[in-house]
C-alpha cells in the first residue's frame, strides 16, 4: 500500500470512532512509532503492527462509546463478536482447527501452485501488446513443386504487407543462425534468428533498441541481444569481432523475459539479426521450404478469415499458407496438459473442501445444544447463519494464508525441476493474480460449506437438540457418508493415475539403455569455415583419453546423438534389391567400448577401417534388413552404397541404443568410420569414460581449446543426464501426479481419522455401556469404524472403476504399461485399503480406551 494511502485509511477509521480532539495526537503517536518499527523490523512487520494497533484503538473506542451512550449493537458489533467467538472456538480445539486449516492449506497450496504453472498456457495473455490479434503465418512449399514451371515466384513480404484489408502490420522471421563472437571473456556462440525490420513493433515487445536497429539496409552487421547470464558481458554499442573476420555491432538489448514467438523453449534465440525477407527464403534441392511471419490482424478480421483470404491469394502458386492464432501456437501441446493438471488440482481441492466441510459437520454435533440455547435466547436464523459463515471464513482465511505460503515454497521447488517448456511463457510465482485465485478458492470453500453445515445444525432449530446429542440425524449421516465416499473415490482416481505413471517411470529407467549412463559427453561445435578433419577429432580424443581419471575417449558425429539436429537426406543403401535412405553415424574406434555398448557379434571399427569398407549395424537395423537372422549371421553381409559402385561389409552388430530419447523406440543405425563430420553445421559429441567418477569438465574444455581455440562446447554432462532431459517432460508429469495422488490419499486419510474419531466421541456412552456389559473390543471397534470404512471402501471401488477409465486419457504418458494394467489397479487398491484401514484403526482404538465408569459419570 502507498504510504499516503495507508495513513488515509488509518485516519478514516480513527475519525470514525475516536473523539475529534483525540484523532491528531493519536495519529501522530502511530506515525512516530511506525517509523521506528519500519527502521527496525521491515515493511511487512510494521504494516502488521499498524493494522493491529489501529484495530485495537477502533474496537476500544467503539466499545467505550457504546457503553457510555447505551447505543444498540450494530451489525459490525455482532460480526466482531462472532469473529471473536470463532477465534476462541478454534483456539479451544487446536487439534481440530489445525486439522481443518492444514487440510485446506494443502488443497489451496497445491491448486494455487498448479494454477500459477498452468495460467500462462490457459488464461494469461501472451506478453505482447493486444496478443489476441497476433497470428503466425506459415507459407510452405515442396521444392519439387517449386521447380516445376509456371508455379510463380517466391513470396515476398510485400505480398503479405499489401493485404492491409487483413493485417495492420506484418513481420517475418527466418531460420536459426549461430553467430560466433570474440568477447573479452572468450568465444561466445549466440543463437540468433533473422527478423525483418518491423518485427518488434508488430509484437509490441519491450526492448531498448535504436529506431533503426533492425534496419536490414545497414552496412554493418548488427545483433539485438537478449539480456541474460550468458550475454551479461555484452553492452549496447559494443563492436565485437566475429569468426568470419568481420565485426558485429550490439545494436540493442531485449528484456530478459522477452519471449520469441516460437513454441519450443530450447529454440529461444539469444539475439535477433536484422535481415531482408529474401534472405529468409532459402531454396535447397529436396527440401520443403518455409516462410514464417507474424501479423497483427485488423480488429474486425478473424484468423479463419485471414486464412481463407491467403489461400485464395496463394492458390495458384506452389506455396500453401497456414494461419494460426499466436496464442494457440505458443501454448501448443502443453495446453491440454495444463488443463489436465489444473483439473487434477481442482479434484484435490474438492477433496480438501469436502474434508473441511465434513469436519465442520462433525464439530457441529457438539454444538447443537449451543445453537438451541442461542435460539432460545432470541438469536435469529440470520444470526446463526452468520455464525456459520464467520467460522468457515476464519478457517478459510487461515487456510488460504497457509496455502499461499505452501504454494510459494512448492513453486520454488517445481521451477527448479520443471523442463524449460513448462516455464517458457513466464516464471510461475505468487502474484496478485495467483493470490486472488487462492482467495477465490477460500470463498468457494466457505460457500460450499454453508449449506451442509446449516443442514447439520438443523436439529437445533427444530427443538430436538437434546435428542440429537446421542445419535446423528439421518440426513447428517447421509451427508457425511456421501462426502467420505466422494473424497475416497477422487483420491482413488488420482492414486490409480499416480500408480500407472510411477510404474511407467520405473519401466523407463530399468530398461537397458544400450550404453553406460555415467559416461561423460561433450558436444562441440567446430568453426564453420573449414571442413572438420578426422585428425583434429583424433587429436581431441587423444588428449581427452590422457586426462587424469579418464579410461578411454571416443567421438561420434552429430545430428543423431542426443541433440536436436536432424540430418536431412543421407546415403542410399541397397540390400537384396531393397533401397533404404539412411543417415550413417560416424564413430571413432573404441566408441562402443567407451559408451558401454555391447557387441552382439563380430568386431568393432578399428583405425584401419576407412570409408565404407567396414560397417557396423545395430540390432534394430539388422532385424529390419535381414529379418529372422541372428546377429552372428549378419556379420559378413555386403551392402551396396549409392549407385552400387561402392560396397561395404558388415563387420559387427551392436545392441540398440536409446540415444534419441529414453521413451522412443531405438532407431535402426548404420555406423561407419569417422572421417569428416556429417555436416559442418553439426556438433561432434566426444564421450569420455571415467574410472573413478572424477570431474574432468575443466580439463576437457582446455583440451578441446588446445586443439582448436575457436571450438565452442555447446553442452556437457553425463549420458544419463542427457537422457533424463529427453524424458523430463514425462518425469515432470509423473512427479506432479504422484504428488497429487499422495496429497489426495493423505487428505482422505486425515478426513477419515477425523470422522472415525468423531463417531467414537459421539458414541462414547454407547461404547461404555457395551464394554460394561462385556462386549469384546473387536465388536465395539466394528461399531465405530463401520460407517466410515464402508463409505470409504464404496468410494474407493467407484474410484477404481473411474480410475481405469481415466487411465485412458493419459495413455500417451504411459510407457510399457496399458491404462487398464491389472497389477497397477491392484496395487492402488491395496494402498488405498491400507490407508483406509490405518486411518480408521488409530482413532477407533483410542475410542476403546474410554473407561466405562468415567464415560457414564460424565454423561
Amino acid at each position: 500500500m502507498q504510504p499516503d494511502r495507508r495513513w488515509r485509511v488509518v485516519h478514516f477509521w480513527l475519525r470514525r470512532y475516536l473523539p475529534p480532539q483525540r484523532i491528531e495526537p493519536t495519529l501522530g503517536d502511530l506515525m512516530e512509532e511506525h517509523a521506528t518499527r519500519l527502521d527496525a523490523g521491515g515493511r511487512v512487520r510494521a504494516a502488521v503492527w499498524l493494522a493491529r494497533e489501529t484495530l485495537s484503538l477502533v474496537l476500544a473506542y467503539r466499545a467505550h462509546t457504546r457503553a457510555t451512550t447505551g447505543a444498540r449493537r450494530t451489525r459490525l458489533d455482532r460480526l466482531h463478536a462472532d469473529v471473536i467467538h470463532a477465534a476462541r472456538g478454534l483456539r479451544a480445539r487446536p487439534a481440530a482447527a489445525g486439522g481443518m486449516v492444514g487440510v485446506l492449506a494443502l488443497g489451496v497450496g497445491l491448486t494455487t501452485a498448479v494454477f500459477a504453472l498452468a495460467d500462462p498456457f490457459l488464461f494469461r495473455p501472451l506478453p505482447y501488446a493486444a496478443p489476441d490479434r497476433l497470428v503466425a503465418i506459415r507459407l510452405a512449399a515442396d521444392t519439387g513443386r517449386l521447380d516445376a514451371p509456371a508455379q510463380g515466384r517466391d513470396p515476398r513480404l510485400e505480398d503479405l504487407e499489401s493485404r492491409s484489408d487483413l493485417f495492420d502490420a506484418v513481420a517475418a522471421y527466418g531460420e536459426r543462425q549461430d553467430v560466433r563472437l570474440s568477447t573479452p571473456g572468450g568465444a561466445m556462440l549466440l543463437k540468433t534468428v533473422r527478423v525483418s525490420a518491423d518485427f518488434l513493433d508488430v509484437l509490441g515487445a519491450r526492448a531498448h533498441v535504436a529506431p533503426d536497429a533492425l534496419d536490414p539496409g545497414s552496412p554493418e552487421r548488427r545483433v539485438i541481444v537478449k539480456a541474460g547470464s550468458q550475454t551479461a558481458s555484452l553492452q549496447p554499442g559494443m563492436l565485437l569481432p566475429d569468426h568470419d573476420g568481420g565485426h558485429v555491432r550490439v545494436a540493442g538489448m531485449l528484456a530478459s523475459d522477452f519471449l520469441f514467438p516460437i513454441p519450443r523453449a530450447a529454440s529461444q534465440p539469444d539475439a535477433l539479426v536484422p535481415s531482408r525477407f529474401g534472405a529468409m527464403v532459402t531454396r535447397e534441392p529436396g527440401r520443403t521450404m518455409f516462410v514464417t511471419a507474424i501479423a497483427r490482424l485488423r480488429p474486425e478480421i478473424t484468423p479463419d478469415a485471414a486464412r481463407a483470404a491467403l489461400r485464395v491469394q496463394f492458390g495458384a502458386s506452389a506455396w500453401s499458407p497456414t494461419v494460426q492464432p499466436l496464442a494457440a501456437l505458443m501454448r501448443g501441446t502443453l495446453r491440454p496438459l495444463a488443463l489436465g493438471a489444473l483439473g487434477a488440482a481442482v479434484l484435490i481441492m474438492i477433496v480438501c473442501a469436502a474434508n473441511v466441510v465434513n469436519l465442520v459437520i462433525a464439530r457441529s454435533a457438539y454444538r447443537t445444544r449451543e445453537f438451541a440455547t442461542r435460539e432460545a435466547l432470541g438469536a435469529s436464523r440470520g444470526d446463526l447463519l452468520r455464525l456459520i459463515v464467520v467460522e468457515l471464513g476464519a478457517i478459510a482465511v487461515l487456510g488460504v494464508a497457509a496455502g499461499v505460503g505452501l504454494a510459494h515454497v512448492t513453486l520454488g521447488v517445481v521451477t527448479q525441476v520443471a523442463p524449460a517448456e513448462y516455464v517458457a511463457l513466464g516464471q510461475p510465482a505468487i502474484t496478485l493474480r495467483t493470490g486472488a485465485f487462492a482467495m477465490l478458492l477460500g470463498i468457494a470453500v466457505v460457500l460450499c460449506g454453508i449449506v451442509p453445515a446449516w443442514i447439520a445444525w438443523r436439529p437445533a432449530r427444530s427443538g430436538r437438540a437434546y435428542a440429537a446429542r446421542s445419535s446423528d440425524a439421518r440426513h447428517v449421516r447421509t451427508l457425511r457418508v456421501l462426502l467420505v465416499a466422494g473424497q475416497s473415490a477422487t483420491a482413488m482416481i488420482l492414486l490409480v493415475g499416480g500408480t500407472l505413471l510411477a510404474r511407467s517411470h520405473v519401466n523407463l529407467w530399468t530398461q537397458d539403455y544400450g550404453f553406460d549412463p555415467t559416461v561423460r559427453v561433450l558436444s562441440v561445435r567446430f568453426p564453420d569455415e573449414a571442413p572438420l578433419m578426422s585428425e583434429e577429432v583424433a587429436s581431441v580424443i587423444e588428449r581427452l583419453g590422457r586426462l587424469p581419471g579418464a579410461v578411454s575417449a571416443a567421438a561420434t558425429s552429430g545430428g543423431t546423438f542426443l541433440d536436436d539436429y536432424t540430418v536431412l537426406g543421407g546415403a542410399s543403401i541397397q540390400v537384396g534389391g531393397r533401397h533404404l535412405l539412411l543417415a550413417p553415424r560416424q564413430v571413432t574406434p573404441g566408441f562402443f567400448t567407451t559408451a558401454g555398448t555391447s557387441m552382439l557379434a563380430g568386431r568393432s571399427l578399428t583405425p584401419a577401417d576407412r570409408g565404407w569398407n567396414a560397417l557396423v549395424v545395430n540390432e534394430a537395423l539388422a532385424s529390419r534388413l535381414w529379418p529372422g537372422r541372428t546377429p552372428a549371421d549378419v556379420v559378413g553381409e555386403i551392402v551396396a552404397v549409392g549407385d552400387g559402385r561402392t560396397v561395404g561389409e558388415i563387420v559387427g552388430v551392436v545392441q540398440n541404443m536409446h540415444d534419441r530419447a529414453l521413451d522412443a523406440p531405438p532407431p535402426g543405425v548404420l555406423f561407419k568410420p569417422f572421417e569428416t563430420a556429417a555436416s559442418r553445421f553439426l556438433p561432434v559429441h566426444f564421450v569420455v569414460r571415467l574410472g573413478d567418477g572424477s570431474d574432468v569438465e575443466t580439463a576437457a574444455r582446455r583440451a578441446i581449446a588446445a586443439v582448436n581455440p575457436a571450438a565452442v562446447v555447446l553442452s556437457s554432462g553425463s549420458l544419463g543426464e542427457r537422457l533424463a532431459g529427453t524424458v523430463s517432460d514425462r518425469s515432470f508429469v509423473t512427479l506432479i501426479l504422484t504428488l497429487f495422488a499422495i496429497a489426495g490419499v493423505g487428505v482422505t486419510a486425515s478426513g477419515l481419522v477425523g470422522i472415525v474419531a468423531f463417531i467414537g466421541a459421539r458414541r462414547t456412552r454407547e461404547i461404555a455401556i457395551r464394554m460394561a456389559l462385556g462386549a469384546r473390543s473387536r465388536h465395539v471397534r466394528v461399531v465405530v469404524v463401520r460407517e466410515a470404512v464402508l463409505a470409504a471402501a464404496g468410494g474407493a471401488v467407484a474410484g477404481l472403476v473411474m480410475g481405469r477409465w481415466a487411465g485412458r486419457l493419459m495413455e500417451h504418458h504411459l510407457y510399457g504399461i496399458s491404462p487398464g494394467d491389472i497389477a497397477s489397479l491392484v496395487m492402488a487398491g491395496l494402498a488405498m485399503l491400507g490407508v483406509v484401514g490405518l486411518a480408521a484403526w488409530i482413532p477407533a482404538n483410542r475410542a476403546l480406551k474410554v473407561s466405562p465408569a468415567d464415560a457414564l459419570r460424565v454423561e
Binding site: 483525540r22 501522530g28 506515525m31 473506542y61
Partner: protein, 111 residues
C-alpha cells in the same frame, strides 16, 4: 478529606506509568513504560481509553503540545500529568494493598 474512590489494577498501573514520565508522557510513551515494567503486552486501545477515563475522573490532566516533529507528520502530542488527586489516589490504593499485605510475609515472602 474523603478518601478517593479505589482504583482498578489497570488504572493504577496507568497512573503510575504517567508518574514515571513526570508530566512528559504521551500515549505511546505511557504504553511503552507499562509494557516494559509489567512484562505484559497491552492493547493500545485499552490504554488510551483508560487515560481518557482517568482524565475525566480528574486524576490525570493533559495538554496538547504545539506542533510535532516530521516523524509524526507534524502532529501534536497529548502529554499527561498526574494531578494531586491522582497522586492521592495512587497513595491510597498502594496503602490499601500494603495494609492487606502486612502479616502475610511468612506466606508470600518478600515481594
Amino acid at each position: 478529606m474523603a478518601s478517593p474512590a479505589p482504583l482498578g489494577e489497570f488504572e493504577l498501573m496507568v497512573l503510575m506509568a504517567a508518574l514515571h514520565l513526570a508530566g512528559d508522557g504521551h500515549g505511546s510513551a505511557i504504553l511503552e513504560v507499562l509494557e516494559r515494567r509489567s512484562g505484559r503486552r497491552l492493547s493500545r486501545g485499552a490504554v488510551y481509553i483508560t487515560l481518557d477515563r482517568l482524565e475525566e475522573k480528574g486524576l490525570l490532566a493533559s495538554r496538547t503540545s504545539a506542533g510535532g516533529p516530521p516523524s509524526r507528520g507534524g502532529r501534536p502530542k497529548r502529554l499527561f500529568r498526574v494531578t494531586p488527586a491522582g497522586t492521592r489516589a495512587i497513595k491510597h490504593s498502594l496503602g490499601m494493598l500494603a495494609r492487606m499485605f502486612r502479616g502475610l510475609e511468612p506466606v508470600l515472602g518478600e515481594i
